[in-house]
């Protein structure tokens, strides 16, 4: 490894401030979880970002996009920002907004883990809670109403803003291609806003064509958070183009937690619940091929989930398993 290469890595190098230190996360091989000698399983450690999640990349891209378009910042542009989030994007935005002097309000389901509230308050964000039984759909609907009613608010709207996938198209995907010399057989990530999957998929398909398989792991939300009045109240993030996906597989909350524990116990990786879900699908894909590199995203670290007891308690003793929005 050359000194220049090392200088771009998160545990080394110099950065002008914490926002500049976002990205350039490590790619870590998981030899114990890899099912076959010819298949190499790699974890893209987005948990190494400054606030501990992949959303630091997205939040920085959303804010810089708004600044470049003159929608926020100096010269009469807006300085009050509003965003729906299940937590991580809000925390990343809160950190960046506190650095840049923007006033941030986040709309978040009331049934997320309590660490999220503390982290948001720590960075100075205001929090509006949306009904827990509507999951993230409720947060999106409420913030769209708030933004429509108050023209002084700027809503980056990660679900519909191309800056979200752009952060991955111009960042995460290039780093992975660089670290694996362009040899990516499958890429597995979580489907939420769609930003991680869309941005990486576009770059990988452009570079590698159909040789690379793009696989979405999505949460099967517990029934208590499927509180829709009708299916027409459903929501598909506008940035999602399903044609870029080769597979789309749901993971139950209990399987996600089992695999979050496997990441910890077998590979020493302390990750959040979505990363466990994604790892389970990555190992399944690794089982289906004979050789190649399977890359999956470790979206966030485990600190925000500690109060739930998922790392230490038996699965059947975890409270609110299906009424919590885990990811």
């Amino acid at each position: 490894m050359t000194p220049g290469h090392l200088a771009n890595r998160p545990c080394a190098g110099r950065y002008e401030d914490i926002v500049a230190a976002i990205g350039n996360t490590p790619l870590v091989e998981l030899k114990r979880l890899s099912p076959k000698p010819g298949v190499r399983l790699w974890a893209k450690m987005e948990s190494f970002n400054p606030t501990g999640s992949v959303k630091d990349r997205v939040a920085r891209a959303l804010i810089e996009d708004g600044e470049q378009k003159g929608l926020i910042g100096a010269g009469g542009a807006k300085s009050r920002i509003l965003e729906p989030t299940s937590g991580n994007t809000g925390i990343s935005l809160a950190m960046i907004c506190s650095r840049k002097g923007y006033d941030l309000t986040v709309v978040m389901p009331e049934n997320v883990t309590p660490e999220r509230t503390q982290l948001l308050e720590m960075y100075g964000a205001k929090i509006v809670y949306s009904p827990g039984n509507q999951g993230s759909n409720g947060a999106v609907a409420m913030s769209l109403e708030m933004a429509a009613a108050d023209p002084s608010l700027y809503m980056p709207y990660q679900y519909g803003n191309e800056a979200n996938p752009g952060a991955h198209y111009n960042g995460t995907a290039l780093e992975i291609l660089d670290d694996l010399d362009g040899e990516v057989t499958a890429f597995v990530a979580g489907l939420g806003t769609g930003g991680t999957l869309m941005g990486n998929a576009r770059r990988f398909k452009e570079e590698l064509g159909d040789a690379v398989k793009i696989v979405a792991a999505e949460p099967m939300q517990g029934e208590p958070v499927q509180g829709l009045r009708s299916l027409d109240d459903g929501f598909i993030p506008p940035i999602i183009d399903i044609s870029l996906l080769d597979r789309k597989i749901f993971v139950t909350n209990s399987d996600a937690i089992v695999w979050t524990r496997r990441l910890l116990d077998e590979e020493g990786i302390f990750a959040g619940v979505s990363s466990g879900a994604i790892a389970s699908i990555a190992v399944r894909i690794a089982n289906e091929i004979d050789e190649g590199n399977v890359v999956f995203v470790v979206c966030d670290d485990g600190w925000k989930y500690l109060s739930s007891g998922i790392y230490t308690r038996p699965l059947d003793e975890i409270e609110n398993l299906d009424s919590t929005v885990w990811w």
Partner: protein
């Protein structure tokens, strides 16, 4: 015959059942059978063009059929179809 799991939002249309059985060898045939047996589900499952309602996700076991072969996806006797509403999710 396949088992179809029904999400809470659709249960009032199937007499409150969590899962029902339906005949067919493709996703489309099974959903058509479901809609015939429980007519209130039809307008929720299908759009005006006969395709899946865009806010309905149907999974063959755990894989979204839209990324398989859609309504023509084959379904075996041991398979389960899971219907879920399209929800915003993920670590957003």
């Amino acid at each position: 015959m396949a088992v179809v799991r029904i999400p809470p939002v659709l249960r009032p249309s199937v007499g409150g059942e969590r899962e029902v059985s339906a005949e067919g060898s493709t996703v489309g045939e099974i959903l058509e059978s479901l809609a015939s047996d429980h007519p209130e589900t039809r307008s929720q499952l299908f759009g005006g063009d006969g395709e899946l309602n865009r806010y309905v996700n149907v999974y063959l076991n755990d894989e979204d059929v839209r990324v398989l072969d859609g309504l023509t996806t084959g379904v075996g006797s041991g398979d389960t179809l899971v219907i879920l509403p399209a929800m915003a999710g993920g670590a957003g």
